[in-house]
Structures are given as structure tokens and as C-alpha cells.
Symmetry: C2
Subunit: 492 residues, 2 copies
């Protein structure tokens, strides 16, 4: 059954939705809607016992009577109907043999902990096994593939944008939350692929990681993790992916109570958190502490160039927020303050008013609240071009003197000029004025930058980028320790 990889989910050209409903409050309706809204170029075929059309699409009563080819079946029918659905699916497979994958959204399977639930799961899985199908779920929110315009989820209000972030979640709700939050951003997160694993009856986390590791359009992998029966295999797989692209993980179960909550949620033995922690470090897997940090880190890694070193320069138009961010950066042992050369120092002193704080402290420049658009842009360009600087954070509270849109365009220009001149360097922007700067932030993001809600979130994402790069260097340095089997899970 493992002959076909998870690509069968993401490359589908026609999708049948079993349990498709004309009632907009049902998952079986929203799934059809999401497939259409995603711009799926192939056929979307509703299936329900009455053969009721959904969203103007012709429906069928059963899978086996659909005349077109069907690659992927999404099951939104209740778990209680799984016997009929499985029989219908099997009949189709015997007749046509076309379906390659099943996504089962319905809950009521093994996750209930009941004999009946386990039996239902086995019935469905049995059909898949006999015919070489891959199954996602059951009890999952579904998959999104913005490369191929697939969205089998029932998440409402999604704004889809292609990008390099792929996310795999052991919690459907956590995944749905992220997709919703990403949709509400000034520019939606660039999701490449999203996958809610559900009960992992067939496709499991390790296989998904392997797949995302070799998927060329995925630039960075995010993971919500509760635990895995083979923790060593999991972290080795993630570590292998992390040689090629960053893997960012929010792992729960740090605490005794959290472990027990995870256990009653997915049945996952969280395992010793300390072992996971040690393995994450060893394999350069970036562990984050919150959903915000996960979001920021994934998007910063996707959109911005990786810093070539750990020397950070902070440019601020706002003394208070700049001082606050300085404290946050200073608390990270991965970060050093950049020392710009004498040329940049005198250019900054000439550019800025005498009461601006140029390199006081080192790696910091307060351009003052009176700074013009040009002073913002030229400062950013000067420090980005300095060979002693690997990354720049820009904080500003654009007031009525400096319209956010004009400022954003000038800053994006400066960044591009500097990158053309000295090679790509990350610029992390935090424009702090609530809804007033939404348009300015949109401009920055459409020019390829990423904007952060708060300066501390920018600092944290940058720390993680630097940490990833340091891990890459360490592993390339090559004591090969992580591959020899003496990892933390062996020492346990």
C-alpha cells in the first residue's frame, strides 16, 4: 500500500465528495465550495443518497455510477454510513479501478476509543488496502494544495495564496486555526500544502514529512506535533528534511498535564519531552513556543533570504518600541549586534538629525520620530549594504507625516537596491499603527518582504532564521553524530 506516496492526494485531477450537501452548514457543502473557490481545474462531483446537486454541480447517488474518471474521494458522510460508502467505493474500484486516494473528513472512527469506531476504520481501510489506495484520516480537516488548486477542507473564509510554506498537523483544529489566522493577514500566508493527519490510519506523519522534504515547491515545513510511536524515526526523518529546508515544529506535551491532554486527544504518547528537545537541537529542527512564533518563523523563512551570519542591526523610528526590541534581541544567545563600518557611521550621522542615536548602542539606530520617508529608506539601505550586517529589523510607527504606503514603497526599493548591490539579506519590518498601516504592510508584502505584528515577533523569527543557519553550518562541519544512531532516543 505504501507503493504510492502522498503525491496521490496532491496531484488529483478529479474529486468526488461523498456526503456533499446542499445545506451550507454541512461540511459536505463547504468542501464542494472550497474545491470550487480554490479554482480546481478538474471535475468536482457531489455524491449523496438523493443525488441532490450542490453549488450548481450535477450530483450522483453513488460513486460507482459516476461516468467520469475519479482520482480522489473525499468522505464527508457520517461515520455510521461508512459500511455503505466503503461498499460503494469497492464496487467502483472493481469496475473502474481509478480512485487512488481517499480523504476522510468524518469523525466517529478509532479516535472515539470504541470498538465500533475501530471497526469502522478497519472497514474503510480494508477497501483501501485491497485496492492500493492511500487514505488520509479519518477524522481530519483535509488537505490544501495551492499548487494544484485543491482544497478538501471545510474551513470557512479561507483566502488562498501560493507560497512555499507547507504545514502538517496532528490536530485538525490547530491546523484550521492556522489557516484561518493566515487568511486574516494583510496578505494571506503563502501556503504550498496543508495536511491535517487525523487518526493516521494509513498516511502518517513520517511519510508526510518525507514527501514534503522531496517536494520541490515546498520551501519550509511546519508541524504541529503531539507525539509519534516511533519518535526516533520521526525526528530522524524531520532532521533529514532539515538538511534541505527548514522544519519548524510546535511540539506540545512539555508538561505532565499537557502530555496527558495529548494522550486523551490523539492517543499519542507524547514521550519524554526532554528527549524530543534534545533531538530537535541535534537535528536542527526549529522548535517554537507558540502558534504566532510558528506562523512568523515559517513565513519569514519562506519569503526572506536566510541571513549569512548572526550580526543584527536594528533601525527604529520609535524610541520606546526600539528599546523594547533591543531587550528582546539581547536575550537571544544566537544573536550578535552588528558593528557597521566607519563609512556607514558617518553617512548615518550626516543623514540624520544630531539627536538621532547612531550606533548608540552598537547595532542600533534611532532615526527619531521626525524621520522622513527618505531618511527611513536611506538608513535601511546604508546598513543593509554594510559588510558587517547580516540582517536588519526596521521598526516604525508611521504617523500622518509619513504615509505608510509611500514609506513602504521606499523601504522596499531600498531593500531591493541593497540586495542587488551586496547580495540578498533579510529585512524584517514591523510597522506599528494598527489598521492604519494595513495598506503599507500589503505593499511591503507584495514586494516580497514580510511584516510582523510586533517587534518582539520580528526578533524571534530572526533568531530562528539565524539558529537554522547555525545548525546547517554545524551539521556541514560534520561530526555526522546525528546519523550514527547515538541520538538522544538511544541514550534513553
Amino acid at each position: 500500500m505504501k507503493g504510492r506516496g502522498p503525491e496521490v492526494f496532491f496531484g488529483a485531477r478529479s474529486v468526488a465528495v461523498v456526503g456533499a450537501s446542499p445545506d451550507p452548514r454541512k461540511a459536505g457543502h463547504q468542501i464542494v465550495r472550497n474545491m470550487l473557490d480554490a479554482g480546481f481545474p478538474g471535475a468536482v462531483i457531489p455524491v449523496n443518497p438523493q443525488g441532490l446537486g450542490v453549488a450548481g454541480l450535477r450530483a450522483y447517488r453513488t460513486l460507482h455510477e459516476i461516468p467520469e474518471r475519479v482520482d480522489l474521494v473525499v468522505i464527508a458522510a457520517p461515520a455510521a454510513a461508512v459500511g455503505e460508502v466503503a461498499a460503494d467505493l469497492e464496487r467502483r474500484l472493481e469496475q473502474r479501478g481509478d480512485v487512488r486516494a481517499v480523504v476522510t473528513a468524518a469523525a466517529g472512527f478509532a479516535e472515539t476509543g470504541t470498538e465500533e469506531g475501530r471497526r469502522r476504520q478497519e472497514v474503510l481501510l480494508g477497501v483501501c488496502r485491497r485496492h492500493g489506495l492511500r487514505e488520509m484520516g479519518p477524522n481530519c480537516v483535509g488537505i490544501i494544495d495551492n499548487e494544484n488548486h485543491v482544497d478538501t477542507t471545510f474551513i470557512v473564509g479561507t483566502r488562498r495564496r501560493r507560497g512555499g510554506v507547507s504545514m502538517v498537523s496532528q490536530s485538525g483544529a490547530f491546523g484550521a486555526w492556522l489557516v484561518s489566522a493566515w487568511s486574516a493577514q494583510v496578505v494571506p500566508a503563502g501556503i504550498n500544502k496543508f495536511c491535517s493527519l487525523g487518526n493516521m490510519a494509513d498516511v502518517d506523519l513520517v511519510e508526510m514529512l518525507e514527501f514534503l522534504g522531496r517536494d520541490d515547491t515546498t520551501r519550509v515545513v511546519g508541524m504541529y506535533l503531539e507525539g509519534h510511536p516511533d519518535a526516533r524515526l520521526l525526528v530522524e526523518t524531520a532532521g533529514d528534511v532539515a538538511r534541505r529546508k527548514p522544519v519548524v515544529v510546535l511540539k506540545v506535551g512539555r508538561s505532565e498535564a499537557g502530555s496527558r491532554a495529548a494522550l486523551s486527544h490523539t492517543g499519542a504518547m507524547a514521550g519524554s519531552d526532554r528527549l524530543y528537545e534534545a533531538a530537535f537541537r541535534q537535528y536542527n529542527i526549529l522548535r517554537v513556543e507558540s502558534a504566532d512564533e510558528l506562523s512568523d518563523t515559517l513565513q519569514a523563512l519562506d519569503r526572506l533570504p536566510l541571513p549569512r551570519g548572526d550580526r543584527v542591526f536594528l533601525v527604529t523610528q520609535a524610541g520606546g518600541p526600539g528599546t523594547f526590541c533591543t531587550d528582546v534581541l539581547a536575550s537571544f544567545r544566537e544573536v550578535r549586534w552588528a558593528e557597521v563600518g566607519e563609512g556607514a557611521r558617518s553617512a548615518l550621522r550626516e543623514l540624520l538629525p544630531p539627536f538621532a542615536s547612531v550606533c548608540r548602542p552598537e547595532g542600533y539606530c534611532d532615526i527619531t520620530a521626525a524621520a522622513t520617508v527618505e531618511q527611513h529608506a536611506r538608513t535601511v539601505e546604508l546598513v543593509l549594504r554594510d559588510p558587517g550586517v547580516d540582517a536588519v529589523i526596521l521598526i516604525t510607527v508611521p504617523t500622518l507625516y509619513i504615509p505608510g504606503e509611500e514609506l513602504a514603497a521606499a523601504v522596499a526599493d531600498a531593500w531591493e537596491r541593497a540586495c542587488r548591490a551586496v547580495g540578498p539579506k533579510p529585512l524584517l519590518c514591523s510597522f506599528l499603527a494598527g489598521d492604519v498601516v494595513r495598506e503599507g504592510r500589503r505593499i511591503l508584502e507584495e514586494r516580497g518582504l514580510f511584516t510582523f505584528e510586533t517587534p518582539d515577533r520580528a526578533a524571534r523569527a530572526l533568531r530562528n532564521m539565524i539558529r537554522y543557519r547555525q545548525g546547517l553550518l554545524r551539521r556541514q562541519g560534520g561530526d555526522g553524530k546525528e546519523c550514527t544512531g547515538d541520538g538522544p532516543f538511544d541514550r534513553a
Copy 2:
């Protein structure tokens, strides 16, 4: 000069804006706009050298020719013009003697570190001293008083709502950022008074804290702090206020670099951060780590009842986010898991499906993604009513089955019923579905609850509420240590 307290700023009945401009990109325009938008019931009088009307208001060329009474003067004219403005003000004072307070928005005074800047500040202050006026600033964003419909700031896009949160900031930009962020919330933060201190030439932080401490409509005080020349007086004053209402502080300068940034910003000696830290603990002043935590804590303390103990119950419809939040709560030593009685346990087991996790772990209930509106509301009510529970966090990812609006109304009803039955208890809600739940969150907030962007932010705010209560008890317990002068600043 200290005879009149800061109330002179907040009780003004007529305001003249010097430097008022018809150009919407000037601070002197936005200040007039904000006074009008705030619904100021008295006269707003533009003053500029040409006597140009602003926003349809009649203007004057000088202060001294205004026929009406003037309580408050806002100076938005450039610092270079301070000589003329001060002379004009003095002439008015000699003739009419009515003005009681001045807010100076303009920058270019002592903060520039130049002789000229200091001289300008002295000129202005000299007039104020001679005539018994109080002065705020210079170099400040201004003041807001939603009780009296005053807004002398030039912050754009402010949505004003009366509430119990008063905020005093040693950074104008930090303050402006908060006001902007609070305006962008689903329901704007309930600001009582806001004050940007600027150079503190006259009114300083200690006096503002004293004032907010005795101001009855202020329920909770927030502070952005860089440092104070008399750190001991500052923390003792804040500690005195904290006996009556919570004081929440974001203090920067934790790090060496941060101290130096603060020094070059406001010239404030950040002082030893460890001494501040110890004093904050001793005087029950709540120190927070970020602007988000400051916002959440202030608003939770303003809107929600203080928990009567430290026993927290977490209700979640979403396993992943619930497990994540469990870890966060478990990391706080101030928090204990609530143990509900046998009655509540069996009622929950009866109410919820068999695969729901009822009190597994203790203090935790996963009502499952299939939970109805009624199951949400009844669970919340059951645990709130249990005598073993002091506070409840509710996490949910409302999908299309459970419309956020309906759920919000039912949850607010349940909270009210429980509070009527057993007395007030805090309920902290985190509805996690991006823009889709804005309307639901609005309903919850209009019913007196507060909603959090993320579960960890709810957990952190609750931890701070519990910490405040524990501090109150400790101080009431009464070794009186904090008043005997053996505080950390003495031991230094």
C-alpha cells in the same frame, strides 16, 4: 506649581490648539480633528499666524485675542516658534489668567540634547511656572480622556471607547502604537485616560501615577517605563496605587544594550533592572514581557472579575489548541488545576459524548469538535458554578456547524447565569478562526467578556490576574515590609 494636579489636563472645558493647520498631514490639523471626533463638548479653538480656519472652526492669530475662556492650550507649533508662543501665552495669562494647563506636542526641546533645545524648554516652562500652569511634555503625543471626551493626540484612526484602562507612557511612539492596536480590536479597548509624558519637564511619571491612583474611574493602570531618577519613589508610588487597583508595567532596559538604548532615548537611567524587578514583586506591581501581554492583562483586569483563587479549569472544543494551552498554564507556578466535584463530573459525562475527555487531565475538559452550542454553554456553566473552580478558559474553533454569533450569545448567557448563582468569576475566551469569528467576539465583548487572540495570551493574562490577587493577599497578610524602607532600592 504642583498645587494643581494633573486633573487640570483631564477636566478641560475649552481647548486652544496653537499651530492648528488646514493641512491634513500636519499634527496641528489632526489634533483639532481628534478633539472633534472625541466629541469634546466645549470649544475647540484653532490658533495659527494666519488665523486660518480648521475643520470649519473659526481660528485666531494669537492666544491672547481669543474672546472665550481657554482652559487648556495644546502647542503643535514648531519648537522654533516657542518664544513667540510663550510670549503670546504669557500675555493672555496676564490679561485673562484663565489657562490652567499646556500640552506640548512639538519636539525639538531638551530631548535633542542641545543647548538651544534646553533653552526653549526653559522658556516655555518659565511662563507656566510664573502663572501656576501645569505642562505636559514637551515632545509628547498628548493625552486622551474618554470620560471627558478629550483627545489632544495626533494619532490617526483612533476608535474611542470608555473603559477603566488608564495608560501612562514614557514613549510617545509606544503609546501611539498601543492606542492604534487597541483601536483595531474587534471592540476597541476601553481607555479611561492616556498620557504620553514626553520630556517630563513638569508633570512626571510619579505624579501621574498618584493621580491615576486616586482617579475613581480608572480601574487599572498601565505603564511603559524606561526609568526614573528616583526609582524608589516611583515604585513606592506605584506600589501604593497597586493596593487599590492593579498596576501593570512594561519596563525596558533589562539588558545592557536595552539600558543604553533607553538612555539615548529619554535620557532615563534605566537603573539596575534587578532592583526594579525585586521592587515590582515586593509592591505587587505586575511586570509583563510584551505589548501584547500588557494589552491583554490590562483589559482582562478591567473587564473581568478578579479570580478568588488560583484554581483554573480549561474547557476546549479543540484538542490541539487545548493541549497547547495546557502546557502554557502548567508552566506557571501561580496556577493550580481546578478539581471539580463529583456532581459536575457526572453532569459533564452525561452532557458530553463518551469520547470527550472529562477531567483527563484534572482541570481540563475536551468537549470534542462535535460539541454543539448547548454543550459549549452548559459545560462552561457547570464548571463556573463548581465551588472548586476560580476561573475558566474557553477555547473553541467555531466551524460552520456552530455559528460564532449564536455560540457567543449562549456562552455569555451561561457566564451571566453562573455569576448570578455563585458570584462573579472570570471567563477568558479564545475563539480561534481569524476573521470568521469577529462578530462572535464582538458579541462576547459587548456582553462584558474579553476575547484573546490566542490561548497562550489568555493563559498569560489569567496568570497575571491570579498573581495580582495573591499579591494583595500577601500584602494584607501584613508584614508591612514594603512600607518600612527596607525595599530593594535601600539594600542596593
